[in-house]
């Protein structure tokens, strides 16, 4: 006998799991504590700007002039929202159309290269999109309307940047629709258009919705593209040709030079960004939740 049969089943502390479990649990907790740590340090650095009701100035002050102790974040918040919503307005329908194209229209020899292209571009660094926007898109816009760096430029480049991601998530949602639905609708003699718009897309709506929310979060958090092509002028946008500064770009632009209250103000805008993303994540989670129980 190679191993003797245990004479009793009574527990011996030999189980290797007893070693690993607390170790792994510790790792998991450590990763989660990161969020607390981030919030704590953002708060710690932002406190000088927040205490004594200082937080009110972020919404009451007209604009962002740290030299004159004016810390109004609203113009940049509007700018961020304007850029993101315009980008999403462009990317959402185009992304969905591309997903439909790959799934239902593309000739079979195109499907794999097309997917590869989308995957490659989804992994492209944002700074490359920014570089391209700065050297190609901005001069084109500048030819029509000076100075070229504008809400429009930022939205266009941002839309192009999130498009591959939107298309790929939509595609995944479309592929999750059971093919029986397909056959069932086709058996009813529906046209392809009716089938897609009336059956397939509605069936995939939660997956598509969650993908869109994630794309929004990504666009909102994007820094380099808006820093490079939006112009960085602090103002509430009135036309799509206005140069604006987004919240993220503000941090990147001034963080290296900021001191004291100015620095605290930048950390506050970081907190506000995190808060916005939190809301979006909650929204996405809710959408996914519905999706699971639909």
């Amino acid at each position: 006998m190679i191993w003797s049969k245990p004479s009793s089943l009574l527990l011996l502390p030999r189980n290797i799991d007893r070693l690993w479990q607390p170790l792994l649990a510790g790792m998991a907790v450590l990763c989660a504590v990161l969020l607390l740590l981030i919030v704590a340090f953002l708060l710690k650095e932002a406190i000088p700007a927040l205490h004594d009701g200082g937080w009110r100035s972020f919404f009451n002050d007209q604009s962002w002039y740290p030299l004159e102790n004016m810390f109004g974040l609203l113009p940049m918040l509007w700018a961020s929202l304007a850029i993101v919503s315009l980008a999403l307005l462009l990317a959402a329908p185009l992304g969905l159309a591309n997903a439909l194209f790959v799934r239902f229209y593309a000739p079979s020899f195109l499907v794999t290269p097309y997917r590869l292209m989308l995957a490659l571009l989804a992994g492209m660094p944002s700074v490359v999109y920014g570089l391209w926007g700065l050297t190609v898109i901005v001069p084109i816009i500048a030819a029509y309307h000076q100075p070229g760096t504008s809400v429009l430029a930022a939205s266009l480049v941002l839309a192009l940047m999130i498009l591959p991601t939107v298309a790929l998530t939509c595609l995944a949602a479309l592929e999750a629709v059971p093919s029986s639905l397909h056959a069932g609708a086709a058996a009813l003699g529906m046209s392809k258009q009716g089938l897609l718009l009336g059956v397939i897309v509605p069936a995939a709506r939660y997956g598509i919705g969650a993908g869109m929310v994630l794309a929004t979060a990504r666009a909102l958090g994007e820094t380099m593209v808006v820093l490079m092509v939006a112009g960085n002028v602090v103002q509430t946008p009135h036309s799509i040709f206005d140069p604006v500064r987004a919240l993220t770009a503000n941090i990147a632009l001034e963080m290296g030079y900021a001191t004291d209250l100015h620095r605290a103000g930048l950390f506050t805008s970081g907190l506000i960004l995190t808060l916005l993303v939190l809301v979006l994540a909650w929204f996405a989670a809710r959408t996914m939740h519905k999706y699971q129980y639909a």
């Binding site: 007209q62 604009s63 002039y65 740290p66 030299l67 004159e68 004016m70 001069p139 500048a142 000076q146 100075p147 070229g148 760096t149 112009g231 960085n232 002028v233 602090v234 140069p243 500064r245 632009l253 001034e254 290296g256 030079y257 900021a258 001191t259 100015h262």
Partner: protein
């Protein structure tokens, strides 16, 4: 598994080795003004050649950052492209050069001269077309600097403006970014360090400097003290600097680096005496 162990051991050895090599060498950290940084970098390279085992790291971050880092000890030496303010008298400044701030336009812009009033009108958005100041019929793109740069502070102070009055079309960070923006846009107007601008022009960049109050924005005029918008370039230390920092400062002020200062189109201190 075996290979993995070998890899891990190698990595750890590398870390230990690099740590020890780091401990063996001396390091000077300079932070601050983006105007001084390119010069400090060049001086640092020459300094390293003369002092084996010394490494000079230069980080840009604006004059105020340089002052604060020198005070907090984050940096051994701060760099500032301005004089120390009244609240900063606890620190010591070491002059290494002089510089001015010049208005720059695109090289193809026919405008040759702008009065102070015109400059103020352009930057505050009252004049919006080059035609109004004798140029072509094109709208003006105003390039302003981001907050935290001493260039911005000096410019505002000189023209008695507040930053909130300026109606900018583009906001830029470093001098180089300002020059790139103006060089890429025929309608732009901006202001940068004379030294940086002269250096870039010598490299063939499509910009030109405008005289201010009739005085040409050149290193020569700054040296003579005639140019109205000029400023000192300082190295900042707190208390008595370390012997290494002291020898770097002495080196930066010595004639040995005069060619470097002049290559950056700044006025060398050694030549003033």
């Amino acid at each position: 598994m075996k290979k993995f162990k070998i890899l891990l051991t190698t990595l750890i050895c590398m870390m230990l080795f690099s740590q020890s090599s780091y401990a063996g060498s001396e390091r000077l950290i300079l932070t601050g003004s983006s105007t001084v940084a390119p010069l400090a970098l060049e001086i640092g390279k020459r300094f390293e050649q003369l002092h084996a085992g010394v490494r000079v790291d230069v980080q840009t971050g604006g004059s105020t950052r340089g002052v604060l880092d020198a005070r907090s000890g984050t940096a051994d030496i701060g760099m500032a492209s301005r004089a120390l303010k009244g609240t900063e008298q606890d620190l010591t400044s070491h002059l290494i050069g002089m510089d001015g701030i010049s208005i720059i336009l695109h090289r193809n812009n026919p405008v040759k001269m702008l009065s102070n009033a015109q400059i103020i009108a352009i930057f505050t958005g009252k004049i919006r077309n080059w035609q109004q100041v004798g140029g072509e019929n094109r709208s003006i793109t105003v390039v302003n600097k981001a907050e935290g740069h001493s260039t911005l502070e000096l410019f505002l102070h000189h023209f008695s403006l507040k930053n909130s009055q300026i109606k900018a079309d583009v906001i830029i960070g470093d001098n180089q970014q300002g020059i790139k923006t103006v060089a890429g846009n025929p309608n732009a107007i901006g202001y940068v360090s004379i030294g940086t601008a002269e250096y870039e022009e010598a490299q063939g960049t499509a910009i030109k400097r405008l005289p201010m109050a009739g005085i040409a924005p050149t290193t020569e005029q700054v040296r003579l003290g005639k140019f109205p918008l000029s400023r000192p370039l300082n190295l900042i230390t707190k208390g008595k600097p370390s012997s290494l920092a002291q020898s770097f400062i002495d080196f930066a002020r010595s004639p040995a680096v005069r060619d470097l200062v002049e290559a950056q189109f700044f006025v060398a201190v050694a030549s003033q005496h």
